[in-house]
Subunit: 449 residues, 2 copies
């Protein structure tokens, strides 16, 4: 799998000169993402596409090929797979649809492709999938074009859920490590990829959207071996009776009894997301939020309302507000305007600038009774990212909310993302994500002491 997911050379079979075609978009995305390995466009017409020489078949390519990306019509895929096998290519990503998901004839084709692949020992991702994006090597054999590199990997049974995840991660500057679309799982399935990514050094968190699990016992074994060490967040759909029926029609897999997944996830420290946004939020938190040493939360905000919403969340989720010692209160009073009342939550009021946060965090970083500092920027406050960055290694958990800040907010959030500072768009989402990180820390402690 290493050669397949970190290929040194790629063939795009079905590369097209027509910008509207997937075979063009994929080739262009690989080039634009900055892939440094060899790229071989394949098309029986030959010629040149996007400045690259086109080969009529992979068999004509002089060098070795590690990965074949297949975007030809379904009926041509068996013969293409034959050539892939004969060329000795170890892996193929079949993006083309028209297989098992499309009825009897497609299912027959899929079986045929599988037989050929097994014969030549080709690992196959897909068919009917949104491809693979490995930003670590600039290989976006997928769409949309996402280049931002980061520690989160998303494996998804749904191209759309994967694309939404990638889109959010790119927009906020966090980036992703990998996106892999599962598609029909002719060969490579969720278990193979989970097993690969819990070991992959570039991946700090594995996020998954799945509708079912093909090989239950093997899946369990991977979770057991991981033992919660690498964070895994899973959104599992098909929970309702009609949802389970729809799963069967979508990916021909069994949704399985939901309680079984709940039990499995609990046993092996997998974080379960209930929504697509939670899948992203929780993954981001597990990748970027330093696990807090305890439940004591300090809230610093320019928005009194957002602070109170956070307090409700903190208490509602079983965490607690930190108590400020006298020395800290005095020191804070000396550093902020007299109209800011020193307490927890600490309301720096609407005229707070980044410097006021800095002066306050400089005191709070030394308060022993605080485990986590939630900093809420509830206005367009420039320079927020720079200030927070100074406190990320202070030994305390620092997490941010940026809300109601318009264009300044978009810019500051992107800066925070690029620097690995965890920031969330609402107080509720931030505190919920913090709780997930805290619960995981407790789980690990109970398990490993």
């Amino acid at each position: 799998m290493d050669r397949v997911l970190y290929p040194r050379s790629v063939a795009v079979i079905g590369a097209s000169a027509n910008p509207a075609k997937t075979g063009h978009i994929i080739l262009k995305n690989i080039i634009d993402a900055g892939y440094k390995g060899e790229i071989y466009p394949i098309n029986p017409k030959g010629g040149e596409i996007l400045g690259l020489k086109v080969y009529r078949s992979v068999l004509e390519v002089p060098g070795e090929i590690d990965l074949a990306v297949v975007v030809v019509p379904a009926r041509v895929v068996p013969s293409v797979m034959e050539e892939i096998g004969r060329k000795g290519i170890p892996g193929a990503v079949i993006i083309s649809g028209g297989f098992g998901e499309a009825g009897e004839e497609g299912a027959r084709l899929e079986e045929e492709v599988g037989k050929i692949a097994r014969q030549y020992n080709v690992r196959v991702i897909g068919p009917n999938c949104q491809g693979v994006n490995n930003t670590n090597i600039g290989l976006c054999a997928s769409w949309p074009l996402i280049k931002e590199n980061g520690p989160m990997t998303i494996v998804s049974q749904s191209g759309t859920v994967g694309a939404a995840f990638e889109g959010w991660a790119a927009e906020e500057g966090y980036g992703i490590s990998f996106f892999v679309g599962l598609g029909n799982r002719l060969d490579v399935d969720e278990t193979d990829l989970l097993s690969f990514f819990v070991r992959d050094e570039k991946t700090k968190v594995v996020a998954m959207y799945i509708e079912g699990v093909k090989r239950g016992p093997e899946f369990r074994r991977v979770l057991e071996e991981n033992g919660g060490r690498k964070p895994i967040v899973i959104l599992k759909s098909g929970r309702s009776p009609s949802g389970a029926r729809a799963v069967q029609s979508h990916t021909r897999s069994l949704a399985g009894r939901d309680e079984v997944f709940t039990g499995l996830f609990r046993q092996y420290g997998v974080v379960r997301a209930e929504t697509v946004e939670e899948l992203y939020d929780f993954s981001k938190a597990l990748a970027f939020v330093r696990p807090p040493s305890g439940p004591r939360v300090m809230i610093v905000s320019s928005s009194g309302g957002s602070a109170i919403i956070s307090v409700d969340m903190v208490e509602g989720l079983g965490m607690e507000l930190a108590q400020l010692p006298e020395w800290a209160k005095e020191e804070l009073r000396a550093r902020i305007p007299p109209y800011c009342i020193v307490s927890n939550p600490l309301d720096l009021t609407g005229d707070a600038d980044a410097e006021r946060y800095d002066r306050v965090l400089d005191v709070l970083k030394d308060v022993e009774g605080i485990d986590t500092i939630v900093t809420i920027f509830g206005d367009p406050i420039p320079g927020a990212a720079e200030v927070l960055e100074k406190y990320m290694d202070s030994g305390k958990t620092v997490i941010a909310v940026y809300i109601g800040g318009g264009e300044v907010q978009a810019e500051e959030v992107r800066k925070m993302g690029k620097r690995g500072i965890p920031v969330f768009p609402t107080p509720e989402r931030a505190i919920k994500a913090l709780k997930v990180v805290m619960d995981r820390a407790s789980w690990l402690k109970r398990r490993y002491g």
Copy 2:
């Protein structure tokens, strides 16, 4: 209150030539929002700001003034209020902070200002608030500059929550009718504003963020009189013990027992939001989603995964999947590619374009057994807004999800917003909002038959 909130002329007391000052930003926003009434900048220095003649005092202004927006330092506000009173101005919005929220001296100042205002019968919004934005007349006496006009009004105890709401509404093209920041509620409070906006013709939905209610019996009376006729969505914080304490320090009001609010809201058909995002989602839904005639939901999607997530939500929230009659199945089969399996959810697959949705909706609009059609665009599909618009008056409830569509999505969502088509960023948020609309319809039916 009508003259105050729909003023024909406005004075900005404390208007400043310095672009960094609130007194400049407010004046500029009023001008840039396209306000057509008279604008009088007031500053003892005189001169000209942003092309407008500056008066030294409201007493020097020749014409009538309906609203005074006050942005001078707190200590000057009493004398300014005296002049406002003598000029016979019926309303003032005091944006300046430094009053009750800032300690004893501020509280004394606030009392003094209140006394003068009462003496002259001036209605006062604030102090310490984020102002008033009435997009119906282009009066943005607030920040950020939001001009997009729409049917949702947001009244907020927190400037940040209000600004976040406005920001989302502007970004998605829905716009807002009013934003009013409550601030310290020296005079005008949540009850006054609720009472005004349930009667305001431009407001179709009243959204509120509150931390407490100053005049409980009057608030109840307004809710009772409204009798659930105009939709009201409330996010009420200060639910936890520490949250309630923080409320007292933030706005010197009592959070009140949460069960009391729960009971009150239930009795009078108020929708309770649990998060800032729900406050926006539910308001949007109540403003734009046509109440469904029943619980039967049809799901049409280009993303199989998003469809299954929606099915789980539909069943989980007690709605049901519509059954397609034979004639409709046949008609659909004739109109979409053979690899799309005709069922509910209807997966149009990843290569669906807007036209395929059109062909399908054209059949579904005539199926009696469908109450709501949830259309999910799970890819960058241009033209989605145009297609949906055709079916908004079909007699069925039509609601959209747009996810994973990058820049095309941003553009299509804005188009949908401008046309009043309800669209949500994830399946979960859409179905939850749909449920709110459905529950409200049932409530009204039980209540009024």
